[in-house]
């Protein structure tokens, strides 16, 4: 088990290097170099024609300075090495937009996104697993068919639609005012509020965003659970278990359930990056100051240090998620840790 984990961990290193190379290449693919882009924010581009010659000279000088400061006058592999070194010392550079350290920006917003995603992941598994078990054990009954259809409907509902509808109809506007139209806390939120009031306010604000992040997961995961269980129910060992007189509940919950949880754990690794990606839309719709919103704004503003840092950080988070799901997989299915191809 220990050696398996060590092996899995070491295997993540080439993956991480791959991610950093892609991230670095995206930066390089961007037209113009970062110094030009930084200068482009206010002075280049549209307004160039109107700039007086002496001002343009000043901009050019600044560009040369920035180029030296970022090490852009060096060869590509050297730049990459410097960037990696900075990465490990958590120096992500400064935002082009407001010159704030990128690290501070991310640290400020990371907890928000993590909170959203952890809550939604919990909700997904709590709802989807029992739903899948019910569907599989009552397969083709009226209840199963209703759940199935409902799952399809949920899966097909686009977040952009539901989110926009919620904003239009439920969050003030011309119709109902059941939920806040955005943000994490009320404007008059104060630290001296009693705990229950703080909790209530947070739940009120988080309800819609977390629901938007989760509902597709209910459908997807319960479908996987159902088909996984049906697959197992067809196996011979189920017949054996029934034939030797085990009660149905033991057959289902001990033998079948354990085996059908294996694919569910693999799927966890696939869901994680989806949640981060999905939070771009949800955070944008509900104006939640998380990583998704930061990333979207950075991309629109071509704030590449922020984009690169976010790209790398969320890739790192996802790798941790994959490692975690491998660990869980090895726990639920010991064959994986010990079994090797003959």
């Amino acid at each position: 088990m220990g050696s398996y984990l060590l092996r899995r961990f070491l295997l993540l290193i080439p993956t991480f290097i791959g991610v950093t190379i892609i991230s670095f290449l995206i930066m390089r693919l961007a037209p113009g170099d970062p110094a030009e882009l930084r200068a482009g924010g206010g002075l280049r581009g549209a307004g160039e024609a109107g700039i007086s010659t002496e001002k343009r000279g000043a901009v050019d000088e600044a560009v040369v300075q920035w180029r030296a400061q970022y090490g852009l006058d060096k060869a590509l592999p050297v730049q990459y090495a410097v960037w990696i070194k900075n990465l490990f010392t958590l120096k992500f550079g400064e935002s082009y937009k407001d010159n704030q350290p990128v690290f501070d920006k991310i640290r400020e917003r990371l907890p928000v996104t993590v909170k959203l995603n952890v809550l939604s992941l919990f909700l997904v598994y709590i709802v989807a697993v029992p739903l899948g078990i019910y569907s599989a054990t009552h397969s083709y009954s009226l209840g199963d068919q209703t759940t199935t259809l409902f799952a399809f409907v949920l899966f097909a509902l686009p977040v952009v639609w539901l989110g926009t509808m919620a904003i239009v109809f439920l969050c003030g506007g011309d119709y109902y005012f059941l939920f806040p139209p955005g943000g994490l806390t009320s404007i008059d939120y104060a630290p001296e509020w009693p705990l229950w009031q703080k909790l209530k306010d947070q739940i009120w604000h988080l309800f819609l965003p977390v629901l938007m992040l989760s509902y597709a997961g209910f459908a997807g995961l319960s479908r996987y659970m159902r088909s996984g269980m049906l697959e197992q129910l067809r196996q011979d060992f189920v017949q054996t278990a029934r034939a030797k007189g085990l009660p149905e509940s033991v057959v289902i919950y001990k033998h079948v359930l354990r085996n059908s949880l294996i694919p569910m754990v693999t799927i966890l690794a696939g869901i994680l990056p989806g949640l981060v990606g999905g939070s771009v839309i949800v955070e944008t719709i509900f104006s939640i100051p998380g990583l998704g919103q930061l990333g979207y704004e950075a991309v629109l503003a071509r704030d590449f240090p922020v984009v690169m840092a976010l790209f790398t950080v969320s890739a790192l988070l996802t790798l941790v998620g994959i490692l975690l799901s491998d660990l869980l997989l090895a726990v639920v299915d010991p064959r994986i840790a010990f079994g090797r191809r003959q």
């Binding site: 080439p14 892609i22 899966f155 097909a156 686009p158 952009v160 639609w161 990056p273 890739a315 994959i322």
Partner: protein, 361 residues
């Protein structure tokens, strides 16, 4: 071709025979496609989904005839014209527009007779006097800020959504099945390398990658298709890999190996048909996912050119103008119905393709 067809058919027939003896007599001579179709037909929900898919394909195909500012038929200055058909010919370079019809406004033309499509607008027709018109007899689903007809936008937007869904998933399927098959069948270092590749793709925040690339390059529908396709194959590949890994240790594969059948034949003729059912699930998720992704991208105003009306771009307008509820309700419903229909059809197909499910109902 005939040998290949006969072979896979007999494999399928064997499987069906062994799994349900009930239907033994009737299976004789039936083709696989006929068997699948018969199973599929039993599933009324899937059939309903199929009708919707065909309906949507029809709308996308005939978008120009459903919503167009040109008339089907026009009688003008004593002559007859068919402007929509003529428009196609002009596009193909087969004909020229008659000089008297160049740059004319058909609706205000002093014509003797004209037959217009049911929605006499194109999504690009701007009419600033009809800004934010609620649904009415004139504009069935209302208009947006620029007075563009929402119904016309939804009809023509279906072309973009469907083509992005199909092309992107086609790319994903090809990459995914080949890589998954190689990894699962050969194992060893090939599996190790491809698994790292899967992991790399999974670890990349796809949505960030999409919006970053879309922000760096000029917006284009083709680019959007390719990026969605190139980033979406991992799910398919992982499922294919797991299936191949599972199936390669089965007796019939060992038997084929012992008979000296080549690896390529075993992989694609013997294992692939059996591995396809679970892969189909992820393909269907992929079509749905690609359409959803595209709507998300255009909702954020990224990927497709700004003047192109898509379902997502109409939705986006509703976000800042919450009084215009029709901008939120209708395009979102179009996305929803499309994704739902594909999902139902795919699921029905999966059940019909899977011989092990036969006779269970």
């Amino acid at each position: 071709m005939s040998r290949r067809g006969g072979n896979s058919k007999s494999v399928w027939r064997q499987k069906i025979m062994s799994s349900s003896n009930r239907e033994k007599g009737r299976e004789k001579g039936a083709k696989l496609s006929a068997l699948v179709w018969r199973e599929f037909k039993r599933n009324r929900v899937a059939i309903a989904g199929l009708y919707v898919v065909c309906f949507l394909l029809g709308i996308a195909l005939f978008a120009d005839f459903l919503a167009n500012d040109k008339p089907y038929y026009l009688r003008y200055q004593g002559k007859s014209y068919f402007p929509i058909l003529r428009g196609y010919m002009v596009q193909l370079g087969l004909a020229r527009l008659p000089p008297e019809l160049l740059n004319v406004e058909y609706k205000t033309l002093d014509n003797q007779a004209a037959v217009f499509p049911p929605i006499p607008y194109r999504p690009s027709n701007v009419n600033l006097t009809a800004s934010y018109a609620p649904p009415s007899g004139k504009h069935w689903l209302g208009t947006d800020k620029l007075g563009r007809d929402v119904m016309a936008g939804i009809i023509h937007g279906s072309r973009i959504s469907l083509s992005i869904g199909f092309v992107a998933v086609g790319i994903s399927l090809m990459i995914g099945v080949i890589l998954g098959a190689l990894a699962g069948f050969f194992g060893g270092w090939i599996d190790l390398v491809t698994s790292r590749l899967f992991e790399l793709m999974l670890a990349i925040p796809t949505f960030f990658l999409l919006i970053t690339i879309a922000a760096v390059f000029p917006p284009s529908i083709f680019l959007t298709m390719v990026i969605i396709g190139l980033t979406g194959w991992v799910g398919i590949a992982r499922f294919a890999r797991n299936e191949f890994l599972k199936l390669r240790s089965l007796d019939y594969v060992t038997a084929a190996l012992a008979l000296g059948v080549s690896s390529r034949q075993i992989m694609f003729r013997h294992i692939l048909p059996n591995a396809m059912a679970p892969v189909m699930v992820s393909v269907v998720l992929g079509v749905a996912g690609a359409i959803l992704l595209e709507s998300g991208l255009s909702f954020l105003g990224i990927g497709v050119p700004a003047d192109t009306v898509t379902w997502g771009s109409i939705l986006n307008e509703a976000r800042s103008n919450t009084f215009a509820w029709w901008l939120a309700v209708f395009p979102g419903f179009a996305i929803f119905i499309t994704v739902l229909a594909y999902y139902l059809v795919g699921e029905g197909l999966r059940d019909a393709l899977d011989p092990r499910l036969r006779g269970l109902r």
